[in-house]
Point group: none
Chain length 213, copies 4
DNA sequence: AATGAATGAGTGTTCATTCAT
DNA sequence: GATGAATGAACACTCATTCAT
């Protein structure tokens, strides 16, 4: 009956129709602010400035709209550029990456994609998995590649670079992300973030600096 | 108006009535599996083996029931004992604590308290804050106290033990928690956990071992 | 199964058990304040200081409890004594009766039996009818008897005394009862009541004074 | 939040949408038959021939729907035309007005607005007050104006015309309204009404006819 | 394509009533 | 008799979804 929703027909690279764009923008705001269950299609329609019916012209149902939002966020965050020039020195690279990473996690304004996706991951495992793989794992992978490059330059001594990358990223979160996501503290100040990342960098270097014999 | 639900009258230490216990157990399962919004009072009643009406005999409303679940989980997790004997050596203490901590986070069986609380923290900030303070912050604090003891024994050189504790705990999660919570990987094997914690311990010691001059 | 509720077994004149009395008192207050639907059995139990279960020991259900209340109120108001001594002069008798009647109707403190019964009369016609017959019609009848006595003394010229009594009573309400019951005005002052009744009395006398030929 | 229900947007004079009209008609019937509490939204939906959800498209909640019904009834009854031409003689005017008034009060078909509003007036004082002011008080006022005109023509001798109007209206109810509203008697026959009003008219004239010196 | 009126299944909650103690 | 824990049917209300226009 439904011959296919517009979204399923879109070719890669085709630009969104303005209505579809409107909907995605409105829905993103509402989903991120209220979570999947807390967001109502009516609220989304209002936020998008379209009628409720129009939502269903572009998206088969609420799930699919949500998935589209997460997919877009996933792509966007997956596209984030970091300077992983293998020629750059390790401390600088780690510091800059750490900054960008924490800013992604602790985005002010509350509605954070990561929380929203975490929340629903149990009921929509594919959504969670894809977000993890395309954003976080990918980020880990890119950092890991950089680290490998420096390992082969003998500047670092790391057994499992993928794992080391993950370690670094989590250290960057220390004292920042959990209080933020549990609403136990206001978003951290830039100064605090800098301190934390500096410490993570030092620790990382202390742990993975090649041992002089 | 209502002079108080049975739960508000319970004395400390008084054991739960069996019905109340049943409800808490059923509700915990449903809330943890489906999240606050995804859980319906009907489903909870069914899971608890009581009628919907009975739910409201023991809890004023869905929010209060949820809060009671989280409170209980909070207390239970906050009561978790770790061996922080200041006389024990650092590597052993960190390893054992790390194991217990990761087992708490990555509890098999899906429905995890931490995810459920995270998910709702934006709309129920008090619930989120209390969980963080009474479980995670408390755990950090206890590890920090231990570290301080070892610092004064000159075995560690740490500026901010609270922060260092947080760093250690996050390192323990490396490659484990995020894939788990995003449903991107099955719960990690005990061996994998041991490896990760060993690495975190080594890194921690490398970073905070006192420098001989 | 139920061999008969205590109330159905009570002999006339037997005094109420204290529990039954408590229930009637509590229920009366709650029913008069909130109406039949607005009153809950729980609230009634609380007001009566007994358990909800006990309500059902004495009364088969909410309807029967309500009927008992109305019945009691009916009897009580039906027992109200007025001085209808046929020897007393008409103006005095009318004035005094009018006062008592208005005080019955416009009882301060809100919860008025008459409103409560009116409200439910469509759904419980028997209750309404019995209240009307045993209170209002009876009152009309007693006034009518008095009037008849004075008619036979040639002091009044009335064709239908029953109807004339009804006319007098309604005139006494002029400007008082409707604003009161529609919450459009505070309960009338005693002075105002006196004026109104005086006017009703004059009008009545003007209308039913025997015509001298 | 919600920018306004359709009803709030209606321009004066704009005719009701057919659905809105259907709902008002169905709800009126159910509310008048069962009272505010006795009426369920499901029953109203059925009576109106719409779905429950549709009720909430047009009215924010049950209270608002009820208020709209009463408001409409209020306006309709407030618009009732009476011939209060100051040139018409008093007995005719009173008789005709009395007829119309009693027909309003004792409308056959049971469900009477006046009873329904009375019943709820304690819990919804505004609704009660507005009904009284816009229907009954207004009617009293119009009769009072007519009486004043005749007073200045020396045809009547009345101190307080507002009060006299109220007296007349209540006398017209004698033996009619209370039995009707308490379900103690079937609606009165037209002949009976005529008699009652004739008597009220006579009494009124007897009381307020100017005294010849 | 876009609308928005309409739907009805589902929600949280209340409450008259029952019954084991 | 008296209790109060427990029930489940009913309620007001929400919201994802449909469909005639």
């Amino acid at each position: 009956m439904v011959a296919g929703h517009p979204n399923t027909l879109r070719l890669a690279g085709e630009e969104d129709s303005s209505k579809r764009r409107q909907i995605l923008d409105g829905a993103k705001k509402v989903f991120m602010d209220f979570g999947f269950d807390g967001a109502s299609m009516g609220e989304i329609a209002r936020a998008a400035g379209v009628s409720k019916g129009t939502l269903y012209v572009y998206f088969a149902d609420k799930n699919r709209l949500f998935e589209a939002i997460v997919e877009e966020e996933t792509l966007e965050q997956g596209r984030l550029a970091f300077n992983f020039d293998p020629g750059r020195d390790v401390p600088t690279t780690l510091r800059e990456f750490g900054q960008a990473y924490i800013q992604l996690l602790c985005r002010p304004g509350g509605g954070s994609a990561i929380r929203t996706v975490m929340a629903i991951a149990e009921r929509m495992p594919d959504v969670g998995r894809r977000y993890y793989e395309n954003v976080l794992e990918k980020m880990i992978g890119r950092l890991a590649s950089y680290l490998e490059a420096r390992v082969s330059m003998k500047e670092l001594a790391i057994g499992d670079c993928q794992f080391a990358a993950s370690q670094f990223m989590l250290m960057c979160q220390a004292s920042l992300f959990l209080p933020f996501i549990f609403q136990a503290a206001p978003p951290p100040s830039p100064e605090r973030i800098t301190q934390v990342i500096e410490s993570a960098t030092q620790m990382f270097l202390a742990g993975y600096r090649p041992r002089d014999e």
